[in-house]
Subunit: 253 residues, 2 copies
Amino acid sequence: MSDQKTWTAALLVIGDEILSGRTQDKNIAQLAPWLNEQGIRLLEVRVVPDDIGRIAAAVNALRTTHDYLFTTGGIGPTHDDITVDAMAEAFSVPVVIHPEARKILEDYYRDRAGGLTEARLRMARAPDGAELIKNPYSGAPGIRLGNVFILAGVPDIVASMLEGLTGKLEGGQPMVSVTVGARAPESEVADLLRETEAANPGVMIGSYPFFTSDRHGANFVIRSEDGELARMAGEELVARLREAGYDPVEGGI
Amino acid sequence: MSDQKTWTAALLVIGDEILSGRTQDKNIAQLAPWLNEQGIRLLEVRVVPDDIGRIAAAVNALRTTHDYLFTTGGIGPTHDDITVDAMAEAFSVPVVIHPEARKILEDYYRDRAGGLTEARLRMARAPDGAELIKNPYSGAPGIRLGNVFILAGVPDIVASMLEGLTGKLEGGQPMVSVTVGARAPESEVADLLRETEAANPGVMIGSYPFFTSDRHGANFVIRSEDGELARMAGEELVARLREAGYDPVEGGI
Protein backbone atom coordinates (compact mmCIF):
# COMPACT_ATOMS: atom_id res chain seq x y z
CA MET A 1 0.00 0.00 0.00
CA SER A 2 2.72 2.46 0.96
CA ASP A 3 4.42 1.99 -2.42
CA GLN A 4 1.36 3.25 -4.23
CA LYS A 5 1.24 6.76 -5.56
CA THR A 6 -0.96 9.18 -3.63
CA TRP A 7 -2.99 11.28 -6.05
CA THR A 8 -3.41 14.88 -4.96
CA ALA A 9 -5.58 17.83 -5.88
CA ALA A 10 -5.98 21.51 -5.06
CA LEU A 11 -9.08 23.67 -5.40
CA LEU A 12 -9.05 27.33 -6.40
CA VAL A 13 -12.27 29.15 -5.52
CA ILE A 14 -12.53 32.33 -7.61
CA GLY A 15 -14.82 35.10 -6.49
CA ASP A 16 -15.13 38.43 -4.71
CA GLU A 17 -18.48 37.25 -3.35
CA ILE A 18 -16.80 34.63 -1.15
CA LEU A 19 -14.11 37.03 0.13
CA SER A 20 -16.68 39.73 0.93
CA GLY A 21 -18.75 37.25 2.93
CA ARG A 22 -21.79 37.80 0.72
CA THR A 23 -21.85 34.16 -0.37
CA GLN A 24 -21.11 31.12 1.79
CA ASP A 25 -18.89 28.79 -0.28
CA LYS A 26 -20.44 25.38 -0.77
CA ASN A 27 -18.01 23.99 -3.34
CA ILE A 28 -15.23 23.03 -0.92
CA ALA A 29 -17.57 20.76 1.05
CA GLN A 30 -18.97 19.40 -2.22
CA LEU A 31 -15.70 18.74 -4.03
CA ALA A 32 -13.84 17.26 -1.04
CA PRO A 33 -15.86 14.04 -0.58
CA TRP A 34 -16.21 13.61 -4.36
CA LEU A 35 -12.43 13.75 -4.73
CA ASN A 36 -12.03 11.23 -1.93
CA GLU A 37 -14.37 8.84 -3.75
CA GLN A 38 -12.11 9.17 -6.81
CA GLY A 39 -9.11 8.20 -4.65
CA ILE A 40 -7.69 11.74 -4.78
CA ARG A 41 -6.64 13.78 -1.71
CA LEU A 42 -7.64 17.43 -1.54
CA LEU A 43 -4.47 18.98 -0.09
CA GLU A 44 -5.09 22.69 -0.44
CA VAL A 45 -7.80 25.23 -1.15
CA ARG A 46 -7.27 28.86 -2.05
CA VAL A 47 -9.86 31.59 -2.46
CA VAL A 48 -8.81 34.58 -4.59
CA PRO A 49 -10.64 37.68 -5.87
CA ASP A 50 -11.76 38.40 -9.44
CA ASP A 51 -8.32 39.59 -10.48
CA ILE A 52 -6.54 38.09 -13.51
CA GLY A 53 -3.04 38.41 -12.07
CA ARG A 54 -3.97 36.85 -8.73
CA ILE A 55 -5.92 34.02 -10.36
CA ALA A 56 -3.11 33.24 -12.83
CA ALA A 57 -0.47 33.22 -10.08
CA ALA A 58 -2.52 30.85 -7.92
CA VAL A 59 -3.23 28.57 -10.91
CA ASN A 60 0.48 28.24 -11.66
CA ALA A 61 1.42 27.70 -8.01
CA LEU A 62 -1.20 24.96 -7.56
CA ARG A 63 -1.22 23.11 -10.89
CA THR A 64 2.50 22.43 -10.72
CA THR A 65 2.41 21.04 -7.17
CA HIS A 66 -0.67 18.78 -7.37
CA ASP A 67 -1.83 16.08 -9.78
CA TYR A 68 -5.07 17.96 -10.40
CA LEU A 69 -6.30 21.51 -9.96
CA PHE A 70 -10.00 22.34 -9.91
CA THR A 71 -11.32 25.89 -10.12
CA THR A 72 -14.83 27.13 -9.39
CA GLY A 73 -16.42 30.40 -10.49
CA GLY A 74 -16.02 33.11 -13.09
CA ILE A 75 -17.02 31.32 -16.31
CA GLY A 76 -20.35 33.05 -16.96
CA PRO A 77 -21.36 35.65 -19.56
CA THR A 78 -20.74 38.88 -17.63
CA HIS A 79 -17.78 41.29 -17.49
CA ASP A 80 -16.69 39.99 -14.08
CA ASP A 81 -16.24 36.43 -15.45
CA ILE A 82 -12.52 36.40 -16.15
CA THR A 83 -11.39 32.88 -15.28
CA VAL A 84 -10.77 31.93 -18.93
CA ASP A 85 -8.58 34.99 -19.47
CA ALA A 86 -6.63 34.28 -16.28
CA MET A 87 -6.15 30.65 -17.30
CA ALA A 88 -4.89 31.65 -20.75
CA GLU A 89 -2.43 34.01 -19.06
CA ALA A 90 -1.27 31.26 -16.68
CA PHE A 91 -0.65 28.85 -19.59
CA SER A 92 0.65 31.58 -21.97
CA VAL A 93 -1.85 30.62 -24.67
CA PRO A 94 -4.40 32.78 -26.51
CA VAL A 95 -8.16 32.75 -25.82
CA VAL A 96 -10.16 31.31 -28.72
CA ILE A 97 -13.82 30.59 -29.43
CA HIS A 98 -14.02 26.81 -28.91
CA PRO A 99 -15.95 25.42 -31.94
CA GLU A 100 -17.63 22.63 -29.97
CA ALA A 101 -18.64 25.05 -27.19
CA ARG A 102 -20.11 27.42 -29.77
CA LYS A 103 -22.12 24.49 -31.18
CA ILE A 104 -23.42 23.57 -27.68
CA LEU A 105 -24.48 27.17 -27.03
CA GLU A 106 -26.11 27.48 -30.49
CA ASP A 107 -28.20 24.40 -29.71
CA TYR A 108 -28.97 25.54 -26.17
CA TYR A 109 -30.10 29.06 -27.12
CA ARG A 110 -31.81 28.16 -30.45
CA ASP A 111 -35.29 28.17 -28.91
CA ARG A 112 -34.58 30.56 -26.07
CA ALA A 113 -35.44 34.29 -26.07
CA GLY A 114 -32.71 36.43 -27.61
CA GLY A 115 -30.79 33.50 -29.12
CA LEU A 116 -26.98 33.27 -29.01
CA THR A 117 -26.03 36.89 -28.31
CA GLU A 118 -22.49 38.27 -28.21
CA ALA A 119 -22.62 38.11 -24.38
CA ARG A 120 -23.67 34.45 -24.40
CA LEU A 121 -20.97 33.63 -26.94
CA ARG A 122 -18.49 34.72 -24.25
CA MET A 123 -19.23 31.34 -22.65
CA ALA A 124 -17.67 29.60 -25.69
CA ARG A 125 -14.33 31.33 -25.05
CA ALA A 126 -11.58 28.95 -23.89
CA PRO A 127 -7.80 28.90 -23.62
CA ASP A 128 -6.33 27.45 -26.83
CA GLY A 129 -5.94 23.67 -26.55
CA ALA A 130 -8.73 23.11 -24.03
CA GLU A 131 -11.28 20.30 -23.94
CA LEU A 132 -14.83 20.76 -22.69
CA ILE A 133 -16.50 19.47 -19.52
CA LYS A 134 -20.18 18.71 -20.02
CA ASN A 135 -22.76 20.86 -18.24
CA PRO A 136 -26.12 19.03 -18.34
CA TYR A 137 -27.60 21.69 -16.04
CA SER A 138 -27.39 24.95 -17.95
CA GLY A 139 -25.58 24.51 -21.26
CA ALA A 140 -22.37 26.50 -20.88
CA PRO A 141 -19.59 23.91 -20.58
CA GLY A 142 -16.68 23.69 -18.16
CA ILE A 143 -13.15 23.52 -19.49
CA ARG A 144 -10.25 21.12 -19.06
CA LEU A 145 -6.76 22.32 -19.84
CA GLY A 146 -4.04 19.80 -19.00
CA ASN A 147 -4.50 18.90 -15.33
CA VAL A 148 -6.75 21.91 -14.66
CA PHE A 149 -10.54 21.52 -14.46
CA ILE A 150 -12.42 24.81 -14.75
CA LEU A 151 -15.90 24.47 -13.25
CA ALA A 152 -18.83 26.83 -12.74
CA GLY A 153 -19.45 28.61 -9.43
CA VAL A 154 -23.12 27.77 -8.85
CA PRO A 155 -23.04 24.62 -6.66
CA ASP A 156 -25.79 22.75 -8.57
CA ILE A 157 -23.92 23.25 -11.85
CA VAL A 158 -20.67 22.11 -10.21
CA ALA A 159 -22.50 18.97 -9.03
CA SER A 160 -23.70 18.16 -12.54
CA MET A 161 -20.22 18.68 -13.99
CA LEU A 162 -18.66 16.44 -11.32
CA GLU A 163 -21.21 13.75 -12.05
CA GLY A 164 -19.95 13.62 -15.64
CA LEU A 165 -16.34 13.33 -14.42
CA THR A 166 -17.04 10.56 -11.89
CA GLY A 167 -14.80 7.55 -12.42
CA LYS A 168 -12.88 9.21 -15.27
CA LEU A 169 -9.85 10.52 -13.35
CA GLU A 170 -6.91 8.39 -12.39
CA GLY A 171 -6.74 7.98 -8.61
CA GLY A 172 -5.77 5.62 -5.81
CA GLN A 173 -7.56 4.42 -2.70
CA PRO A 174 -10.25 6.51 -1.04
CA MET A 175 -9.52 7.43 2.56
CA VAL A 176 -11.79 5.44 4.87
CA SER A 177 -13.02 7.16 8.01
CA VAL A 178 -14.61 5.84 11.18
CA THR A 179 -16.19 8.25 13.67
CA VAL A 180 -16.58 7.77 17.42
CA GLY A 181 -18.18 10.38 19.67
CA ALA A 182 -18.04 11.00 23.41
CA ARG A 183 -19.77 13.48 25.72
CA ALA A 184 -16.52 14.44 27.37
CA PRO A 185 -14.29 17.49 27.00
CA GLU A 186 -11.58 16.50 24.51
CA SER A 187 -8.98 17.72 27.00
CA GLU A 188 -9.96 14.82 29.30
CA VAL A 189 -9.27 12.17 26.68
CA ALA A 190 -6.30 13.78 24.93
CA ASP A 191 -3.78 11.24 26.25
CA LEU A 192 -6.01 8.31 25.36
CA LEU A 193 -6.38 9.63 21.77
CA ARG A 194 -2.65 10.15 21.34
CA GLU A 195 -1.93 6.65 22.64
CA THR A 196 -4.51 5.06 20.34
CA GLU A 197 -3.05 6.83 17.31
CA ALA A 198 0.49 5.82 18.30
CA ALA A 199 -0.59 2.19 18.72
CA ASN A 200 -2.12 2.09 15.23
CA PRO A 201 0.42 2.93 12.51
CA GLY A 202 -1.14 3.99 9.21
CA VAL A 203 -4.03 5.63 11.02
CA MET A 204 -4.67 9.29 11.84
CA ILE A 205 -7.06 10.45 14.54
CA GLY A 206 -8.62 13.93 14.50
CA SER A 207 -10.53 15.37 17.45
CA TYR A 208 -13.42 17.77 16.76
CA PRO A 209 -14.99 19.30 19.85
CA PHE A 210 -18.50 20.64 20.10
CA PHE A 211 -20.20 22.71 22.77
CA THR A 212 -23.91 22.23 23.39
CA SER A 213 -25.73 23.79 26.34
CA ASP A 214 -23.20 23.13 29.12
CA ARG A 215 -22.10 19.62 28.12
CA HIS A 216 -18.87 19.48 26.22
CA GLY A 217 -18.13 16.68 23.81
CA ALA A 218 -16.12 15.72 20.76
CA ASN A 219 -16.13 13.48 17.74
CA PHE A 220 -13.00 11.52 16.96
CA VAL A 221 -12.41 10.75 13.29
CA ILE A 222 -10.10 7.84 12.53
CA ARG A 223 -8.78 7.87 8.97
CA SER A 224 -6.73 5.44 6.94
CA GLU A 225 -6.28 4.34 3.33
CA ASP A 226 -6.74 0.82 4.73
CA GLY A 227 -10.34 0.37 5.83
CA GLU A 228 -9.49 -2.60 8.05
CA LEU A 229 -6.90 -0.56 9.97
CA ALA A 230 -9.40 2.26 10.45
CA ARG A 231 -12.06 -0.14 11.76
CA MET A 232 -9.62 -1.84 14.14
CA ALA A 233 -8.39 1.49 15.51
CA GLY A 234 -12.02 2.57 15.92
CA GLU A 235 -12.81 -0.53 17.96
CA GLU A 236 -9.74 0.03 20.08
CA LEU A 237 -10.73 3.63 20.75
CA VAL A 238 -14.25 2.58 21.72
CA ALA A 239 -12.82 -0.01 24.15
CA ARG A 240 -10.36 2.49 25.68
CA LEU A 241 -13.07 5.15 26.11
CA ARG A 242 -15.39 2.64 27.74
CA GLU A 243 -12.61 1.44 30.05
CA ALA A 244 -11.98 5.06 31.07
CA GLY A 245 -15.61 5.42 32.08
CA TYR A 246 -17.01 7.23 29.06
CA ASP A 247 -19.97 6.14 27.00
CA PRO A 248 -18.63 6.21 23.42
CA VAL A 249 -21.08 6.62 20.52
CA GLU A 250 -20.08 4.66 17.43
CA GLY A 251 -20.76 6.68 14.27
CA GLY A 252 -20.35 9.93 16.18
CA ILE A 253 -22.65 12.40 17.91
CA MET B 1 -9.62 58.66 -1.09
CA SER B 2 -7.33 56.98 -3.64
CA ASP B 3 -4.25 58.22 -1.74
CA GLN B 4 -5.29 56.30 1.34
CA LYS B 5 -3.64 53.03 2.19
CA THR B 6 -5.77 49.94 1.58
CA TRP B 7 -5.45 47.57 4.54
CA THR B 8 -5.36 43.91 3.56
CA ALA B 9 -5.72 40.56 5.26
CA ALA B 10 -5.46 36.87 4.49
CA LEU B 11 -7.10 33.97 6.30
CA LEU B 12 -5.49 30.57 6.79
CA VAL B 13 -7.98 27.84 7.67
CA ILE B 14 -6.15 24.92 9.29
CA GLY B 15 -7.79 21.52 9.38
CA ASP B 16 -8.07 18.10 7.77
CA GLU B 17 -11.80 18.17 8.58
CA ILE B 18 -12.42 20.97 6.06
CA LEU B 19 -10.33 19.32 3.32
CA SER B 20 -12.03 15.95 3.82
CA GLY B 21 -15.46 17.55 3.50
CA ARG B 22 -16.47 16.35 6.98
CA THR B 23 -16.94 19.91 8.24
CA GLN B 24 -18.41 22.83 6.31
CA ASP B 25 -16.18 25.85 7.01
CA LYS B 26 -18.08 28.74 8.55
CA ASN B 27 -15.17 30.97 9.47
CA ILE B 28 -14.56 32.47 6.01
CA ALA B 29 -18.12 33.80 5.86
CA GLN B 30 -17.82 34.99 9.47
CA LEU B 31 -14.44 36.70 9.23
CA ALA B 32 -15.03 38.37 5.83
CA PRO B 33 -17.78 40.84 6.85
CA TRP B 34 -16.09 41.48 10.22
CA LEU B 35 -12.87 42.46 8.44
CA ASN B 36 -14.82 44.74 6.11
CA GLU B 37 -16.33 46.52 9.12
CA GLN B 38 -12.78 47.11 10.39
CA GLY B 39 -11.89 48.67 7.01
CA ILE B 40 -9.70 45.72 6.04
CA ARG B 41 -10.01 43.80 2.72
CA LEU B 42 -9.85 40.01 2.84
CA LEU B 43 -7.73 39.29 -0.25
CA GLU B 44 -6.96 35.59 0.05
CA VAL B 45 -7.98 32.47 1.94
CA ARG B 46 -6.05 29.23 2.08
CA VAL B 47 -7.10 25.92 3.60
CA VAL B 48 -4.27 23.55 4.53
CA PRO B 49 -4.11 20.17 6.32
CA ASP B 50 -2.83 19.49 9.84
CA ASP B 51 0.80 19.41 8.70
CA ILE B 52 3.43 21.60 10.38
CA GLY B 53 5.48 22.14 7.21
CA ARG B 54 2.47 23.10 5.10
CA ILE B 55 1.04 25.41 7.77
CA ALA B 56 4.38 27.15 8.34
CA ALA B 57 4.94 27.67 4.60
CA ALA B 58 1.47 29.17 4.15
CA VAL B 59 1.92 31.41 7.21
CA ASN B 60 5.15 32.83 5.83
CA ALA B 61 3.72 33.30 2.33
CA LEU B 62 0.65 35.14 3.62
CA ARG B 63 1.95 37.19 6.58
CA THR B 64 4.60 38.88 4.42
CA THR B 65 2.16 39.87 1.65
CA HIS B 66 -0.78 41.18 3.71
CA ASP B 67 -1.12 43.64 6.59
CA TYR B 68 -2.80 41.00 8.72
CA LEU B 69 -3.01 37.21 8.73
CA PHE B 70 -5.70 35.37 10.67
CA THR B 71 -5.63 31.64 11.25
CA THR B 72 -8.44 29.38 12.48
CA GLY B 73 -8.15 25.91 13.95
CA GLY B 74 -5.64 23.67 15.67
CA ILE B 75 -5.17 25.38 19.05
CA GLY B 76 -6.96 22.84 21.27
CA PRO B 77 -5.58 20.31 23.77
CA THR B 78 -5.23 17.21 21.55
CA HIS B 79 -2.32 15.74 19.59
CA ASP B 80 -3.70 17.00 16.26
CA ASP B 81 -3.59 20.63 17.46
CA ILE B 82 -0.28 21.78 16.01
CA THR B 83 -0.87 25.38 14.97
CA VAL B 84 1.36 26.78 17.73
CA ASP B 85 4.24 24.51 16.71
CA ALA B 86 3.82 25.47 13.05
CA MET B 87 3.73 29.15 13.94
CA ALA B 88 6.91 28.86 16.02
CA GLU B 89 8.58 27.16 13.06
CA ALA B 90 7.39 29.90 10.69
CA PHE B 91 8.80 32.61 12.97
CA SER B 92 11.89 30.58 14.00
CA VAL B 93 11.16 31.04 17.69
CA PRO B 94 10.76 28.42 20.44
CA VAL B 95 7.44 27.34 21.94
CA VAL B 96 7.06 28.40 25.57
CA ILE B 97 4.37 28.14 28.25
CA HIS B 98 2.86 31.63 28.26
CA PRO B 99 2.61 32.68 31.95
CA GLU B 100 -0.58 34.70 31.48
CA ALA B 101 -2.22 31.86 29.52
CA ARG B 102 -1.30 29.41 32.28
CA LYS B 103 -2.93 31.76 34.80
CA ILE B 104 -6.12 31.97 32.69
CA LEU B 105 -6.30 28.17 32.41
CA GLU B 106 -5.59 27.72 36.14
CA ASP B 107 -8.53 29.99 36.93
CA TYR B 108 -10.77 28.38 34.29
CA TYR B 109 -10.13 24.80 35.42
CA ARG B 110 -9.92 25.48 39.18
CA ASP B 111 -13.50 24.35 39.82
CA ARG B 112 -13.82 21.99 36.86
CA ALA B 113 -13.43 18.19 36.99
CA GLY B 114 -9.84 17.05 36.60
CA GLY B 115 -8.32 20.52 37.05
CA LEU B 116 -5.45 21.81 34.92
CA THR B 117 -4.06 18.56 33.48
CA GLU B 118 -0.96 18.23 31.32
CA ALA B 119 -3.21 18.02 28.22
CA ARG B 120 -5.05 21.21 29.17
CA LEU B 121 -1.76 22.99 29.86
CA ARG B 122 -1.00 22.40 26.16
CA MET B 123 -3.40 25.28 25.52
CA ALA B 124 -0.99 27.65 27.35
CA ARG B 125 1.76 26.90 24.82
CA ALA B 126 2.62 29.84 22.56
CA PRO B 127 5.42 30.93 20.26
CA ASP B 128 7.93 33.00 22.24
CA GLY B 129 7.02 36.70 22.12
CA ALA B 130 3.28 36.22 21.61
CA GLU B 131 0.44 38.20 23.19
CA LEU B 132 -2.92 36.64 24.07
CA ILE B 133 -6.33 37.11 22.46
CA LYS B 134 -9.17 36.87 24.97
CA ASN B 135 -11.56 33.92 24.73
CA PRO B 136 -14.66 34.73 26.81
CA TYR B 137 -16.34 31.57 25.47
CA SER B 138 -14.20 28.69 26.67
CA GLY B 139 -11.10 29.92 28.46
CA ALA B 140 -8.21 28.87 26.21
CA PRO B 141 -6.92 32.11 24.64
CA GLY B 142 -6.03 32.91 21.05
CA ILE B 143 -2.57 34.20 20.24
CA ARG B 144 -1.21 37.28 18.51
CA LEU B 145 2.30 37.17 17.11
CA GLY B 146 3.28 40.26 15.12
CA ASN B 147 0.64 40.69 12.42
CA VAL B 148 -0.65 37.11 12.83
CA PHE B 149 -3.84 36.41 14.80
CA ILE B 150 -4.24 32.76 15.80
CA LEU B 151 -7.90 31.98 16.50
CA ALA B 152 -9.82 28.85 17.48
CA GLY B 153 -11.62 26.67 14.92
CA VAL B 154 -15.07 26.40 16.52
CA PRO B 155 -17.09 29.25 14.93
CA ASP B 156 -18.72 30.42 18.19
CA ILE B 157 -15.31 30.75 19.84
CA VAL B 158 -13.98 32.63 16.80
CA ALA B 159 -16.95 35.00 17.08
CA SER B 160 -16.20 35.75 20.75
CA MET B 161 -12.51 36.35 19.97
CA LEU B 162 -13.38 38.71 17.10
CA GLU B 163 -15.74 40.62 19.36
CA GLY B 164 -12.82 41.40 21.63
CA LEU B 165 -10.73 42.59 18.67
CA THR B 166 -13.45 44.82 17.19
CA GLY B 167 -12.24 48.38 16.66
CA LYS B 168 -8.71 47.58 17.83
CA LEU B 169 -7.00 47.01 14.45
CA GLU B 170 -5.82 49.80 12.21
CA GLY B 171 -7.89 49.90 9.01
CA GLY B 172 -9.35 52.19 6.36
CA GLN B 173 -12.81 52.58 4.87
CA PRO B 174 -15.26 49.67 4.78
CA MET B 175 -16.41 48.69 1.31
CA VAL B 176 -20.04 49.74 0.85
CA SER B 177 -22.25 47.48 -1.25
CA VAL B 178 -25.62 48.03 -2.89
CA THR B 179 -27.54 45.06 -4.30
CA VAL B 180 -30.05 45.08 -7.15
CA GLY B 181 -31.82 41.93 -8.36
CA ALA B 182 -33.60 41.06 -11.60
CA ARG B 183 -35.53 38.01 -12.78
CA ALA B 184 -33.61 37.88 -16.03
CA PRO B 185 -30.80 35.62 -17.22
CA GLU B 186 -27.58 37.54 -16.56
CA SER B 187 -26.56 36.89 -20.16
CA GLU B 188 -29.40 39.20 -21.27
CA VAL B 189 -28.15 42.14 -19.22
CA ALA B 190 -24.40 41.59 -19.57
CA ASP B 191 -23.88 44.63 -21.84
CA LEU B 192 -25.95 46.85 -19.60
CA LEU B 193 -23.90 45.79 -16.54
CA ARG B 194 -20.60 46.37 -18.27
CA GLU B 195 -21.74 49.84 -19.45
CA THR B 196 -22.95 50.82 -15.98
CA GLU B 197 -19.63 49.80 -14.43
CA ALA B 198 -17.68 51.67 -17.13
CA ALA B 199 -19.80 54.82 -16.57
CA ASN B 200 -19.11 54.77 -12.81
CA PRO B 201 -15.39 54.95 -12.02
CA GLY B 202 -14.49 53.78 -8.51
CA VAL B 203 -17.29 51.23 -8.56
CA MET B 204 -17.20 47.47 -9.21
CA ILE B 205 -20.25 45.44 -10.23
CA GLY B 206 -20.46 41.70 -9.64
CA SER B 207 -23.18 39.54 -11.16
CA TYR B 208 -24.39 36.48 -9.21
CA PRO B 209 -26.92 34.30 -11.04
CA PHE B 210 -29.45 32.02 -9.42
CA PHE B 211 -31.66 29.33 -10.90
CA THR B 212 -35.05 28.71 -9.32
CA SER B 213 -37.66 26.44 -10.94
CA ASP B 214 -37.42 27.56 -14.57
CA ARG B 215 -36.99 31.30 -14.01
CA HIS B 216 -33.42 32.51 -14.21
CA GLY B 217 -32.29 35.58 -12.37
CA ALA B 218 -29.30 37.32 -10.87
CA ASN B 219 -28.27 39.72 -8.15
CA PHE B 220 -25.93 42.54 -9.07
CA VAL B 221 -23.67 43.77 -6.27
CA ILE B 222 -22.26 47.27 -6.66
CA ARG B 223 -19.25 47.92 -4.44
CA SER B 224 -17.21 50.99 -3.67
CA GLU B 225 -15.18 52.50 -0.84
CA ASP B 226 -17.32 55.61 -1.44
CA GLY B 227 -20.88 54.90 -0.32
CA GLU B 228 -22.28 57.80 -2.36
CA LEU B 229 -20.71 56.43 -5.56
CA ALA B 230 -22.14 52.97 -4.83
CA ARG B 231 -25.64 54.38 -4.24
CA MET B 232 -25.50 56.51 -7.42
CA ALA B 233 -24.35 53.56 -9.54
CA GLY B 234 -27.11 51.44 -7.97
CA GLU B 235 -29.74 54.01 -8.93
CA GLU B 236 -28.34 54.18 -12.45
CA LEU B 237 -28.47 50.39 -12.77
CA VAL B 238 -32.07 50.32 -11.54
CA ALA B 239 -33.02 52.99 -14.11
CA ARG B 240 -31.23 51.19 -16.96
CA LEU B 241 -32.83 47.84 -16.06
CA ARG B 242 -36.28 49.44 -15.91
CA GLU B 243 -35.71 51.16 -19.25
CA ALA B 244 -34.73 47.79 -20.77
CA GLY B 245 -38.08 46.32 -19.67
CA TYR B 246 -36.99 44.48 -16.52
CA ASP B 247 -38.46 44.87 -13.07
CA PRO B 248 -35.43 45.47 -10.86
CA VAL B 249 -35.63 44.64 -7.15
CA GLU B 250 -33.70 47.07 -4.94
CA GLY B 251 -31.92 45.22 -2.14
CA GLY B 252 -31.72 42.06 -4.24
CA ILE B 253 -33.78 38.91 -4.61
